[in-house]
């Protein structure tokens, strides 16, 4: 088991791909934002792909191991120490009962992932252990972890220390605060005029501090629309960005009036605004590792290219990416 000594900033139990299958009831998938790093953490400690671990955001937790364990940290380097001794990221590490893992904050990137051999075994809710903190479901009593809690750990682990993710199999985080993020056109790109589409793809969009695991707000120029957005039936609503309420895909760039919001893992899955573009799964690690104030430049790719890129990441999240020290 793991005792929570410090909770960090909204550290949550997640599994991948999360709580799928209940979109029609309004449940977001949740799950880890940077699923590339998350999946590799599970591979390092010998867990099956769907095993639950922790997502640590901006400031990591401090945890005490109540039993000997093998764990791994991936994603952003939160300068972790085990009983005061620095712990490498992207490696599996052995911990003794009673030892304390302390994480602080990352210099580069935003989210660190913690996996433990055997996995975290909190209660399964609607098919997943993932936390939807705002919705109060999954995780520990519906929320992110809290000081004083004990996180149950599965007994089936067979982790081995000293395994490392090959450097070429890891995502590379930018150090100049500028991210090139892939997007696909649609579903509602035909509501934006040509000048607006051009503007979207050439602008430096700033990630707003009013962002969370449900939506990433972007700051930038005004949008302009096609005729379709202005001449429509009253049930669409009166704003040019209003449409008859419809389903929102994960990753949609949802245009709330004039404010684009990238819908991320804990997203509202339907509503009355258009989604001119969608960020595909292969770019989610970049969203997960960026901080408010950083800049996105969107690069349009085709659906087929996005699918191929997702496949390349999945191929890297396997045993073939592991080397032994």
């Amino acid at each position: 088991m793991l005792e929570v000594i410090k909770s960090g900033l909204e550290t949550s139990i997640q599994d991948w791909p999360g709580r799928q299958g209940y979109l029609k009831c309004g449940f977001p998938w949740s799950g880890p934002m940077d699923h590339w790093s998350f999946r590799l953490a599970n591979v390092l400690v010998g867990n099956a792909p769907g095993t639950a671990g922790l997502e640590c955001q901006f400031i990591g937790p401090s945890l005490r191991f109540t039993a000997d364990a093998v764990f791994a940290l991936t994603g952003a380097d939160m300068q972790a120490k085990l009983d005061g001794v620095p712990v490498p990221t992207w490696e599996s590490v052995a911990a003794k009962a009673g030892q304390v893992l302390e994480m602080t904050f990352p210099k580069v990137g935003a989210r660190a992932y913690f996996a433990i051999a055997g996995g975290i075994e909190n209660e399964v809710f609607f098919g997943s252990r993932a936390t939807f903190n705002k919705g109060g479901l999954g995780g520990m009593g519906g929320h992110s972890i809290k000081v004083g809690q004990t996180l149950p750990v599965g007994t089936g682990g067979n982790g081995v220390a000293g395994r490392r993710v090959k450097p070429e199999a890891r995502p590379v985080f930018v150090t100049d605060k500028r991210w090139n993020v892939e997007v696909c056109a649609g579903p509602n790109d035909d509501w934006i005029d040509e000048a607006g589409q051009q503007r979207f793809l050439t602008t430096d969009w700033k990630l707003s501090s009013k962002s969370d695991r449900g939506g990433f707000r972007l700051e930038g120029p005004e949008w302009t629309f096609t005729d379709k957005a202005h001449n429509k039936l009253p049930e669409h609503g009166s704003d040019p960005a209003n449409i008859v309420d419809h389903g929102y895909p994960l990753g949609a760039i949802n245009l709330a009036g004039q404010t684009p919001i990238i819908l991320v893992n804990d997203w509202p899955d339907g509503g009355g605004f258009i989604n001119p573009y969608t960020v595909p799964g292969c770019a989610f690690w970049k969203l997960g590792q960026s901080k408010p104030g950083e800049i996105y430049h969107f690069q349009q790719i085709s659906v087929t290219e996005a699918q191929a890129a997702a496949r390349r990441i999945t191929a890297l999240c396997t045993e073939s990416s592991i080397e032994t020290l």
Binding site: K24, H246, G247, P249, G270, P280
Partner: protein, 290 residues
Amino acid sequence: MIYDAPRFRPGGDRFLEIEFGDELNLELNFRAQGLGQAITREKVKGVGEIAPFFSSALVHYDPDLIGYEDLCRELKRLIESVASSNDVELESRLIYMPAMYLDPWSDEAIDQYIEKINPNKERDPDFVARINGLEDAAQLVRVHSGTEYWVAALGFWPGTPFMMPLDPRCRLFAPKYNPPRTYTKTGTIGMGGGATAIYPVDGPGGYQIFARTPVPIWDMQQKLAPFKEAPYLLRPTDRMKFIHVNREEFDAIERQCAEGSYQMNVVGYQKISLQSYRAWVATLDMNARF
């Protein structure tokens, strides 16, 4: 309008949106629900889940099992094979929902908005009445509560219903708040576009608001009988009828809900077909209002 052929739009690498039309129309929602049932029944390879909405459906698929073009072809075939929506019968529970119209909590949220965000905001009930050509807020209450509502979809938040009026004499339209409200109380009932919804939890909101129900639609503690299976009350294709209550009744029901003793009125034996619905609509004077 209802499109001659459904339109397929990609949403990134693993979603697809199907648009059947662009209006609030029971027939369009029947098509979306019918496709959802057909996909579940036929277990289409590579399709993860489908979320039908008013006049569209969102499909999640696994591109490693089926490509975008093949998926479109497969869905087209399925849409054609689903019997004409005319013949489709959908199970539909009727839920009687107590509602206090022109309630003090909506008033308070509107006051707050006028004070802090927009001093020129016309109060929601007066505004919705005016732009729909009604006499006053009292008539808005008669018209809004004069119909059964069709639960076309759940979305935005777990268990949140998007509903449309089934009686065309009760159709109303309302623009959404711009900018949105920062606070709305749980159970508040409001309208945006042509849709009516209930707020499942406290939170920000954009709908014009004018009523509130004491009965939860989302309850993680699952205290009342209809929540036995899941923490949400409603399912797509349910219908809802708002029943007027006064403050005293509201408070009593709220108390019973908290204790777990409230007997919810959920009628479960009915089915809805487009054919019988259309036949009824054809008998109505479309210019009449309650």
